[in-house]
């Protein structure tokens, strides 16, 4: 199996692959890219082969995948475990609602999208500055991010009164904010409302672009810097890196990724409520990323889709197993993966494939040398 399709040929494809591949991302073989293309093609064809409900359901999972990417990026590559990525997800979702409801035109929704992503990103930048320049470290970062999410949860849950409104938009307290507009592309009053299959495609392509973009970033020198910070902060500082700044940048990008997910999520159900800041929801990204593999973007996405699909399925019960066992199974699965596949599913598989390949090459090499020795 050739590892490089056309390395060194200097072709456009070759240069592109150079940007996309590197030690920091899993999957760089031709086989991988063919498989990737097939998977993307399958995801594109998917809505044509299934019912509208499944498309809507899958859209929700895709929106959540941004949250997984966001955590995977900061935890897997820079070693910052945030238990509160949902905070930026939620801030963006609420911001999208507030701006979207107040400016109800198509332009308004576009503005809401931009504004919401900016809001989520700024929130992350602010918290990141506060923590990383304040010397908050490791586990303390984890708990601090969780506490921030819980503060938002407590606060948003009590915004029930009519005095808690921004313009037209009622924050709604525990009941949440309703009438959030659907994502729309367009100018003025007319625009293309992204619903059903369109929403799915918009999500899929944004996710795809984000994934490839993150691969490029991780394989750039900045990605190397992130990994250096993850491996050894003190040492990295002695090479002249401004470690708090690097972490701030990473955390901010992570916030932006979560914010994009939040916008899609709010627009998916036309609704957002404070439970996005709750501990149950806050734990989910950690679950997805741990299971998928924290050093694998694709693993994080895959695990999100698989686990969420499973959770939905289990809520109806499977065969003789009643729905009451759903949470037991999810919790047990999580324990099992963490105990027996500590790196996560995808990196473990990747290692396995590597090992098999090496073994096979070794065998074929040994046969080649004996057989072809006369030559």
């Amino acid at each position: 199996m050739s590892d490089r399709l056309d390395a060194g040929s200097g072709s456009l494809l070759g240069r592109l692959r150079d940007r996309l591949e590197g030690p920091n991302t899993i999957g760089g073989s031709a086989v991988f890219w063919v498989g990737f293309a097939v998977a993307v093609a399958a995801l594109i064809a998917y809505p044509q082969t299934t019912d509208p409900y499944t498309v809507i359901q899958s859209s929700r999972y895709l929106a959540l995948a941004f949250l997984a990417l966001s955590l995977c990026f900061i935890w897997g590559y820079a070693g910052v475990l945030s238990f509160g990525q949902v905070a930026f997800f939620g801030v963006a979702a609420y911001a999208f609602g507030v701006i979207g409801i107040n400016l109800s035109s198509a332009t308004g929704v576009v503005a809401a999208t931009v504004g919401a992503v900016v809001a989520g990103t700024l929130a992350a930048a602010l918290l990141g500055y506060f923590m990383f320049y304040g010397g908050v470290r490791d586990t303390y970062v984890t708990i601090m991010t969780l506490v921030v999410a819980l503060v938002l949860n407590t606060f948003m849950a009590q915004t029930a009164g009519s005095e808690w409104a921004v313009g037209e938009a009622q924050l709604g307290g525990f009941n949440g904010m309703t009438n959030i507009p659907s994502l729309t592309l367009g100018l003025g009053e007319t625009g293309l409302v992204l619903e059903g299959n369109l929403f799915y495609y918009a999500l899929l392509f944004t996710l795809l672009a984000t994934y490839l973009g993150l691969r490029v970033l991780l394989n750039s020198s900045f990605g190397m810097t992130m990994v250096a910070v993850r491996e050894d902060e003190a040492r990295t500082a002695t090479f002249g890196y401004n470690v708090p700044f690097v972490k701030l940048v990473v955390f901010t990008i992570g916030g932006a990724l979560a914010a994009v997910g939040g916008v899609f999520y709010a627009s998916w159900g036309n609704y957002i409520d404070p439970s996005v800041f709750g501990i149950a929801f806050a734990a989910l990204p950690v679950v997805w990323v741990s299971v998928g593999g924290r050093e694998s973007l694709l693993g994080a996405i895959g695990a999100t889709l698989a686990i969420e699909r499973m959770r939905t399925g289990l809520s109806s019960g499977i065969g003789p197993i009643g729905s009451e066992w759903a949470l037991v199974i999810v919790g047990g699965l999580l324990l099992g993966v963490i105990l027996y596949l500590p790196a996560g599913v995808v990196p473990t598989l990747d290692d396995l494939v590597d090992e098999l390949r090496t073994r096979r090459t070794e065998r074929s090499q040994s046969t080649t040398t004996t057989e072809e020795s006369p030559e």
Binding site: G173, N175, Y271, S323
Partner: protein, 423 residues
């Protein structure tokens, strides 16, 4: 006190349905159920935060549907039940609502305990014009084309209990309520009642849903020394208030409530005297039994669900509203949701375990038999002050007195007390 005014036809029809005698006969029309027979969706929490209330609702809904199936089904067809557990998670509710509507093509949906859940799935309900029964007692005011909020509203519950307590104990009221829409709007309703009747609100506070410590609340109540307390606390965390009240010997200050006892059966789960002198405005409690002749809903319930904890007010709403729907389907002769809604909007009477009730077609709300349930020092329940109360807020007060009439115009809105009153 309007026991006698029940149109005969309806009683016969619903009675007949309950007995499994299909009045309309087999029309063979499978309604909107995609491909197969009729399908009903139940989304009630059996795990998570609201499982205590949700489980009972789920059990009663299943009981009603199974009874109908045992008695020959509806329009000659067996009703299929789809009932995944939404786990008290609103985003799971949204997902499952989409699934039940789009994939299982349900002909009617019973879903959700909290107002937050209802609001979370309302956009989906509206988009798909799904016939939806929301059965929890609630703040009131929802006026929505395809939604039938059949539980008693705050105006109905508080309207029965507040004046009763004021007459008995005096005019000084201290309001404590859960800090979300339901609690705040319920508080507004107590204020409305106070304005109308000249009561005096001496204190009013709204408590976060996750609070469990009520010592400072109790100190403030002691400081104001009201004649009675109106409590619209919600959920397992807030129940601790009743225990702390007993610890602090506050049972001499009566409590009026729309939330305690009838839903979370605190009078059974708590040792006396925690709930002593709690007066709940209710439409139903298990202790009421079955007011219909020759029927025993409570026995049937425990026979079907021997492990059940309690048959709560909401469960009864689920139970009778299934029959209400079945009745309407029989009359419409089809499961087609628009036609069933049209039949329901004609207004219907139904004989429920809690009494003979009437659905108000214009507002989609029920005229309930309301009563005051009092727990004594042994937590024995007694009922007093029976009164039939209709959905007067939606019918007569909103829109400058014109009311909301869903037969006349399409609406997907919720009115709040401040639309009409100065609160």
């Amino acid at each position: 006190m309007t026991h006698e005014s029940i149109p005969r036809r309806s009683v016969l029809a619903s009675g007949a349905t309950a007995l499994g005698i299909s009045v309309a006969g087999c029309s063979g029309g499978s309604g909107s159920g995609g491909g197969g027979g009729p399908t009903v969706g139940i989304l009630e929490d059996r795990s998570g935060n609201f499982q205590l209330n949700g489980t009972s609702k789920w059990q009663a809904t299943r009981l009603a549907l199974e009874e109908i199936n045992e008695n020959g089904g509806l329009l000659g067809e067996e009703i299929e039940i789809v009932d995944p557990d939404p786990q008290s998670d609103n985003s799971r509710y949204q997902e499952l609502t989409e699934q039940l509507i789009l994939q299982d093509d349900v002909d009617a949906l019973w879903a959700g305990y909290s107002s937050a859940t209802r609001e979370a799935i309302r956009p989906i309900i509206n988009e798909n014009e799904q016939l939806y029964f929301y059965t929890t007692q609630y703040e009131g005011g929802v006026c929505d084309n395809t939604i039938f909020p059949v539980g008693a509203t705050a105006r109905q519950q508080l309207g029965i209990v507040t004046p009763y307590l004021a007459d008995e104990f005096g005019d000084d009221i201290y309001i404590i309520a859960a800090d979300y829409n339901f609690g705040q709007l319920s508080g507004d309703w107590v204020n409305v009642l106070a304005q109308e009747n000249g009561y005096n609100i001496v204190g009013e506070e709204y408590i976060p849903l996750d609070e469990t410590d009520f010592s400072s609340v109790i100190n403030r109540i002691q400081s104001e020394d009201p004649d009675f307390i109106m409590s619209m606390l919600v959920g397992a965390n807030h129940e601790n208030f009743y225990d702390q009240r007993a610890t602090n010997d506050l049972e001499n200050i009566p409590i009026g409530t729309s939330t305690a006892m009838a839903q979370g059966h605190e009078h059974i789960r708590y040792d006396p005297p925690a709930l002593t002198n709690v007066y709940a405005g209710v439409s139903y409690m298990e202790e009421l039994g079955d007011l219909r002749d020759g029927e025993n809903f409570v026995d049937a319930f425990y026979e079907r669900w021997p492990d059940a904890n309690y048959l709560n007010q909401e469960a009864q709403n689920n139970y009778f509203s299934v029959y209400l729907w079945a009745d309407a389907v029989e009359e419409a002769g089809t499961f087609d949701q628009q036609e069933v809604i049209s039949v329901l909007e004609e207004g219907r009477d139904i004989s429920a375990p809690s009494g003979d009730l009437t659905l108000d077609g214009a507002t989609h709300h029920m005229e309930h038999e309301m009563r005051v349930a009092r727990a004594d020092e042994n937590h024995e329940i007694s009922f007093t002050n029976n009164e039939r109360i209709g959905p007067s807020f939606l019918r007569e007060e909103v829109e400058g007195g014109d009311g909301c009439d869903l037969r006349e115009e399409d609406k997907t809105t919720q009115y709040v007390p401040s639309d009409v009153y100065d609160v």
